[in-house]
Amino acid sequence: MYLGLKEMRHEKLRYTLLSGVLLLIALVVFMLAGLANGLSNGNRQAVDAWQARTVYLNKNANQTMSASQLKLADQKKLSGKQIAPLASLSGTLRTTNNHLKTTASAFGTSRTSFLMPKLVSGHQINGKNQVLISADLKAAGYKLGQKVRIGTTKQTVKIVGTYGKSTYMIAPTLYTDIATMNRLKGAPITSGDQQTVNGFVTKESSFKNAKHGDLEKLSIATFINKLPGYSAEQLTLNTMIYFLFVIALAIIGIFMFVLTLQKQPLFGVLKVQGIGTGHILAALLTQSIAMAVIGIVLGLGITVGLAQIMPAGLPFVVNWAQFGGYSLALLAASVVGALLSWRTVAKIDPAVAIG
């Protein structure tokens, strides 16, 4: 430890540059992770808020909600607690005077279902053609009491309540009841149990019997992974992050190896004096850990700083638990990288230092 830290202090430029390289790697890791989180969050925030465990869709829908069509009556095939019908519509939300236009994800569910969000202002849906809007839409300029249209029908609805931040498939959400949703979709049936829905979301449920027609049961995790583009997006970003761990390992490994080769005569002298391989390796480890910690801490600081000044449209979410995990992974990569020089250090023959 003493040797390692003293050398770093004496060779400031060399070790500052190497810490700088690690800082850049850490920065890219955290930025990519933040963007991956942001995109993931934009896709699934609303789903996470449901705190549900399973989703039932039409088995011919390829596990995609927008492609799934069921009847409200299909709920009779399920048993369990907290089963909520869900109809979804992705469309343009606009004020009646067309001053505001926003792409939104609209959900319809029964008025008392557990999917209905907790209100921040206004009241729950208690009549025809009422909707609740998320904080994101409120921030975009939509107000309580305003009349709006969704999608392509002439049907107007009234905003009666607002709730917290919520997005689904990168669009802010709004909630209404099943009948209103069917009117917005221009469906022929807008009352009774023959109305169409896209699926059922439940906390605890199962099929009543083996005969369950067109229904297919999905876990929430599968449902999220099947959101259009979701897994491809996450896989791409995460693969980049995993590659960066390998790159960090390689960079530390190569640098430490080159430095070790360069310092072979010195290490020979140390060994002559009875300072063995263990002490020399400890010095190398101290150095790589110190550089990794400096790089990671600064990388984290810069990432968090950048997150403050990023444009609002850029999806970016700081997840401390995940960032902590990635920090440990980078640290581990540095330790392994330094250990790659172990054989070289062990093989240095102290006799060479004499004569």
Partner: protein, 226 residues
């Protein structure tokens, strides 16, 4: 006469096998006691370095015994020999065995760190004073003259209070007055602190201060003086 601190008995050292074998040392006998300053003199290629590496336990002899304080080195494990070198042998190498990124005082602190004991401040100050290095206690090796560097190496070798000090051409990079200064100081330390000091050199002019001189030529060692 007291028991030898370091003794080499009937040492043969060969490199390689069969008809390509090279003999570096033949039936070498050597001993040094506490308070003695011994020189080993010989031209390059005579087997001086081989002698030192064997005496330090860095190489094992083909035949014969190396006894350090009566213990046979070759019979010890690699780890035990490492500890022996650290505790019992001080080294002064040709140009510099100093660590470039530690200042003079830190070179000594490192010894204490390795021995897992607190820094012996008074001992360091006293040794540095003895070798006229008090003014450069915080200088790095690159800021020192050649003579100062070798004097620091002497301090470093003495600091851990070893039984024997092995000096490999300690004056190789120095001019004559500085060489004589360094050798006089080595002789002084041997006599004053009752250390066994072995100096390997090719320079005939430096052996005036030595108690015992061995000549080594083509692997054959002969006692010449004392």
């Amino acid at each position: 006469m007291t028991q030898a601190v370091l003794a080499l008995q009937h040492i043969d050292k060969q490199f390689g096998h069969g008809h390509t074998a090279v003999t570096a040392l033949t039936d070498a006998n050597f001993e040094v006691s506490a308070g003695q300053f011994v020189a080993i003199i010989g031209p390059s290629g005579s087997g001086k370095s081989t002698f030192l590496t064997i005496a330090a336990g860095l190489q094992t002899p083909t035949k014969g015994q190396v006894l350090l304080n009566g213990t046979e080195l070759a019979a010890q494990s690699e780890k035990a020999r490492l500890a022996y070198r650290f505790n019992e042998i001080g080294f002064i190498l040709q140009s510099s065995n100093l660590i470039p990124f530690l200042n003079v005082t830190e070179q000594l602190k490192l010894v204490d760190k390795m021995a897992k004991r607190p820094f012996q401040k008074d001992r360091a100050a006293q040794l540095l004073k003895e070798l006229a290095l008090s003014d450069v206690a915080t200088a790095y090796p690159s800021e020192l003259s050649g003579g100062e560097r070798q004097r620091v190496a002497i301090v470093r070798a003495l600091y851990n209070d070893p039984s024997v000090i092995l000096a490999d051409e300690p004056t190789a990079s120095l001019d004559t007055p500085r060489s004589i200064d360094v050798v006089e100081r080595l002789a002084n330390e041997a006599h004053q602190h009752q250390k066994a000091i072995v100096m390997v050199t090719h320079d005939q002019r430096l052996i005036g201060n030595c108690d015992v001189v061995y000549q080594i030529e083509d692997g054959v060692m002969t006692r010449q003086k004392g």
